[in-house]
């Protein structure tokens, strides 16, 4: 198939970017979107041009590295699919395709299609873990977990941290990512001791990274390659409110003791 690509080219974070048009012929419909970009890059290199920079790693849809918006949609037109698992058979011969980096204030462009998503790492580091003494692995059945809770926690834990939710959100909000990380531990017994502190710290970090707020458009769950539901946002909101109430109560206790 023959395609017309408009690819966002940007030298560095500080420079202005623009779309550059490329005609690409003989693309196999069995190739993935990234393989199609590989093909474009080979041609660019052969003709002495800079290849298009894009992030990729596993190409199996589980690492969350690939991050590009295809025709305005993070990871492209196919639901529940990362860009690396998107196949060219989703497009038609003669299609015009716009390829852009993930657009969000908190994800500055590094180069071309590569964005800096380390804000996600900092949110995770703020509380997205369980503090435990390391040692021998505990016996697997020592802590029984209700099947429904295990399933819900697993659905939240399916988040690969790719940032498509932020890229799809008209507000550039990271609520779905943060909610998935908060909820996945909030649903498990191991996550309970730090539950209140975790949600407060992770939301504080999220806000300090200049992500937007959630206005419940629901675009994030449509774009999520792992199908994470905005019900986790409601769950995080509830946890956030009860953490604030708990903190207020504990201050009242301190006053009484004086």
């Amino acid at each position: 198939m023959n395609l017309t690509l408009f690819v966002w080219r940007q030298e560095a974070a500080s420079s202005a970017g623009s779309f550059v048009e490329y005609a690409l012929d003989g693309v196999s419909e069995d190739s993935s979107f990234l393989e199609m970009l590989d093909m474009l890059n080979e041609k660019l290199v052969e003709s002495g041009h800079q290849p298009v920079a894009f992030e990729h790693d596993c190409r199996e849809g589980i690492c969350g590295s690939c991050s590009m918006s295809i025709n305005g949609r993070p990871h492209g037109p196919k639901r529940l699919t990362t860009a690396c698992q998107l196949h060219m058979r989703m497009f038609k011969d003669g299609d015009v395709i716009y390829v852009e980096p993930f657009r969000a204030g908190a994800f500055p462009v590094v180069k071309d299609l590569v964005t800096n998503r380390s804000a996600f790492d900092r949110i995770q580091q703020a509380g997205g873990f369980v503090s435990v003494q390391t040692g021998a692995a505990p016996e697997a059945n020592a802590t029984p977990i209700e099947k429904d809770h295990a399933d819900e926690a697993f659905d939240a834990a399916a988040c690969i941290g790719c940032g498509a939710c932020v890229a799809a959100c008209p507000n550039g909000s990271a609520m779905l990512f943060t909610a998935a990380k908060v909820s996945h531990l909030a649903l498990l017994p191991q996550g309970q001791p730090e539950r209140s502190a975790r949600v407060a710290k992770m939301v504080e970090q999220m806000d300090s990274e200049m992500f937007g707020g959630c206005t419940n458009h629901g675009e994030c769950q449509e774009a999520c390659p792992k199908g994470i539901s905005i019900k986790y946002i409601a769950q995080m909101n509830r946890d956030f409110i009860s953490a604030a109430v708990r903190k207020a109560r504990s201050l009242r206790g301190a006053m009484r003791a004086q």
């Binding site: 408009f6 779309f19 918006s69 025709n71 305005g72 949609r73 716009y98 852009e100 657009r103 969000a104 204030g105 908190a106 819900e152 959100c169 008209p170 507000n171 550039g172 909000s173 939301v203 504080e204 999220m206 806000d207 200049m210 992500f211 937007g212 707020g213 959630c214 206005t215 419940n216 458009h217 629901g218 675009e219 769950q221 449509e222 774009a223 905005i230 019900k231 946002i233 409601a234 769950q235 995080m236 909101n237 509830r238 946890d239 956030f240 409110i241 604030a244 903190k247 207020a248 201050l251």
Partner: protein
Amino acid sequence: MSLVRDFYGSTIGKKVVMALTGLVLVGFAVGHMAGNLKVFAGADATTGVYKIDHYGEFLREIGSEMLGRAGFLWIVRAILLTCVVLHAASGIQLARLNRKAKPAGYKVSSYRSANAASRTMLYGGLFLIAFIVFHILHLTTGTVHYRGFVEGAVYANLYAAFQSPAVAGFYLLSMALLALHLYHGTWSMFQTLGVDAPNWNGTLRAAAKVVALALFVGFSAVPVSIFGGLLKPPAVQSASN
């Protein structure tokens, strides 16, 4: 106070303020709409006083033994004004933040679930503030009524006001925009407060639709019925009541 500052300082805290004040305002809108329907109750057979005029007087009289005439009404007004101010302030602050968080959009934009309601919350809200100001000057104080406004003569004031196609049309448009705002807002409120978990989403979405539609139909019934001639012109004595 740092507790309040920390809470309101977060995006979720601002949204909780929006949701709670929104809940009060939706509750008020439902009550206001239900009260308006007294227009259709006609006049008292013995006194000749319109039921809605009587209802208006009743609102002023609530708690008057303790708070004086209209005292309770003023407390309610103060609460509503506070809610509007907090609702708008948090909304505007969040909208500014959101705009900063999304400095550039996509070349081809294709929304999958964002809709006309969710995308017009800010402008719809700002319009509604303008409408509320107009509405108070129009039918509460009568400042911009221009058609023989008499305080307390609710039926006659409404009847005179909605003879004008422009006024009736503006109210209809405003109510359509109110319904749009509430279609997204009512559902959104539950999501923000985390009430919608685990799987009530479908029910809450449907409830938001019912609330929005009921308010549109209920509020619009008054200007439509008057302009369409379904309600009779006021009897002379009611205006002097």
